[in-house]
């Protein structure tokens, strides 16, 4: 059974729908990547999963139940994590406090998880008491991801994790994502850097106009001349 499955999802902000019947399914071992032109509905898909906008049609199955239109703070204890594209850290709070906030829903001792995050991002261990607002863009992205990992999600949603980062950080972030996936967390991410992201995607979804256009493994999509011409050009 898939970890998460979107079936014919129709969703929007209240007016005309942005998603017009989207199908996506990934397993725990997958790194799923959603690519497509601007306005295709990539970020909207993630937000629809996380209850941040109105789903008016279709179902989103996670852990055996339809989680469409749930409240975001109910989804975190169920094993979902979300890293937004912008404003994804608490700038006035320290690195360690950001991580603590990620563990808010946990009632048990989460020091082990915090250790795990610090091992994944050694730089953060050094700067654990610094206010996050003072860190660089790449370091902030690390804090953002670390925060989402603190609740030990089974599925991690990432909205354009490489946006605005220098090339060196982009590689680092992607490598970390692969590592997180290897440690047992399913990944579903939206990316503008289509070629780079699809390179290690086990499942790729090309969206346009709020609908699926192409689906396959990352390698298949890169190799497909039609996909490459229309969507991976730049």
């Amino acid at each position: 059974m898939a970890l998460i499955e979107l079936k014919h999802v129709v969703a929007g902000y209240g007016g005309a729908p942005i998603l017009n019947g989207v199908d996506i399914a990934i397993d725990k071992s997958d790194i799923g990547v959603i690519v497509g032109p601007n306005g295709a509905g990539k970020s909207t898909t993630l937000k629809a999963i996380f209850g941040l906008l109105e789903v008016t049609g279709g179902t989103i199955e996670f852990g055996g139940e339809n989680i469409a239109n749930s409240l975001p703070d109910r989804l975190v204890p169920k094993g979902l994590g979300f890293v937004p594209q912008e404003k994804n850290v608490f700038t006035s709070m320290s690195v360690e406090e950001n991580l603590e906030m990620g563990a808010f829903t946990r009632r048990d001792d989460f020091s082990e998880t915090m250790q795990w995050v610090y091992e994944m991002f050694p730089v953060l261990a050094e700067k654990r008491r610094q206010p996050t607002g003072e860190l660089s863009g790449g370091q902030r992205q690390m804090v953002a991801m670390g925060r989402a990992l603190m609740s030990r999600p089974t599925l991690l949603l990432l909205d354009e994790p490489s946006a605005g980062l220098s090339p060196r950080y982009v590689i680092e972030i992607f490598e970390t994502i692969v590592r997180i996936n290897q440690e047992g967390v399913g990944i579903l991410m939206v990316e503008q850097n289509a070629r780079q992201a699809l390179a290690f995607a086990s499942k790729g979804f090309v969206l346009a106009g709020g609908q699926n256009r192409f689906t396959g493994t990352g390698a298949e999509l890169i190799a497909d001349p039609e996909v490459a011409k229309s969507f991976l050009g730049g």
Binding site: V76, N88, S92, E97, M101
Partner: protein, 335 residues
């Protein structure tokens, strides 16, 4: 030495008392602004409400024959705080939460809070009458401590009243408790997180409804203390806190909306600005008379601003801050 004593009595002590009151009120305003994103104009009346609750409780206890060495209003304070916090939650549930659910803009909520102000004011006056009365029950009186300063060459004592001493102690305790709550406890940090970035807080799994409730509880409890202290220091009247709303907003804005420590600093700043502005500096500068040449002397009253304009000082500071540096000292929210 006498001049210094005069200064201490008139400025230091009364400024600190006023500052404590402003600070406690401003903390509530700034918390509500940081987490609920609107200007809670009814906060002054929440303070009045708290003071009247304390008065009711104290009167009831006195009627039952229970008298203690401390002013009764202080004794009932914990219970009064709890009741006021409960009322604050009720007001939010009845008047603000429905509008928030409808997606109301901050200004709509401001107007709603004006509606709440009117209702509380009207209700309080309806129930208690418009008159002024002291907050002491059953024949209590203000104990005044006089510290003799003759050993330092002063001919008058430093005088401080019992309520004022209690005020300092209570304020210090509350501020400390709040500090620990916000920096050490899970819920307190969640509040800071929500004030920082409400969307991210929700996405992180923070129970935003719970944080909102805790905010009202804290704001209500602190408002009760501030209102009761003000009533003890001055007198209990329905108009009590309406005059205070603007200085409290001034304090919160000057300190940076959303910043708790800023609110405290702002509160004392405004209080001392008011006190110093109406202070008659001639009283201190009198020794200078001896140094001035023949025929010259200091004017009888060298106050920066006449006493009638004391509250106006806070308004002027408010307007200037909004125009010049709306983010305040600690760079809170602005446009």
């Amino acid at each position: 030495m006498d001049e210094l004593i005069f200064f201490i009595n008139r400025v230091l002590i009364s400024g600190t008392v006023l500052g404590s009151i402003y600070a406690l009120g401003a903390i509530g305003v700034t918390l509500i602004f940081g987490i609920l994103r609107f200007a809670h104009f009814a906060h002054g009346d929440m303070m009045t409400m708290g003071a009247f609750v304390a008065f009711l409780l104290a009167s009831v206890l006195a009627a039952m024959g229970i008298i203690l060495p401390l002013p009764m209003a202080f004794v009932v304070l914990p219970l009064a705080m709890a009741i006021t916090a409960f009322l604050a939650l009720g007001i939010d549930k009845a008047f603000y939460a429905p509008l928030r659910r409808q997606g109301a803009k901050p200004v709509t909520l401001l107007i709603a809070s004006i509606g709440v102000t009117l209702m509380i004011q009207g209700l309080v006056r309806l129930l208690f009458g418009s008159g002024t009365r002291p907050l002491f029950v059953a024949g209590e009186a203000k104990d005044i401590f006089r510290i003799d300063m003759s050993w330092a060459g002063g001919s008058r004592p430093i005088s401080i009243t019992e309520p004022q001493v209690l005020m300092f102690v209570v304020t210090a305790i509350l501020v400390l408790a709040l500090h620990f709550f916000l920096t050490r406890s899970r819920l307190g940090k969640a509040m800071r997180a929500m004030a920082d970035n409400a969307d991210l807080a929700q996405v992180s799994g923070i129970n935003t409804a719970l944080v909102v409730r805790v905010t009202w509880v804290i704001a209500g409890a602190l408002a009760c203390v501030a209102g009761t202290m003000l009533a003890l220091d001055v007198a209990l009247m329905p108009d009590l806190a309406f005059n205070i709303v603007l200085p409290i907003f001034a304090a919160a804005i000057v300190g940076g909306l959303g910043h708790t420590y800023g609110a405290i600093v702002g509160g004392f700043l405004i209080a001392f600005a008011e006190t110093l502005a109406v202070f008659n500096w001639t009283a201190i500068l009198r020794p200078l008379n001896a140094v001035l040449p023949e025929g010259w002397s200091l004017p009888a009253n060298l106050a920066l601003v006449p006493t009638e304009y004391k509250l106006t000082v806070a308004f002027v500071i408010l307007v200037i801050t909004l125009l010049v540096r709306p983010t305040g000292i600690f760079k809170g929210a602005s446009t």
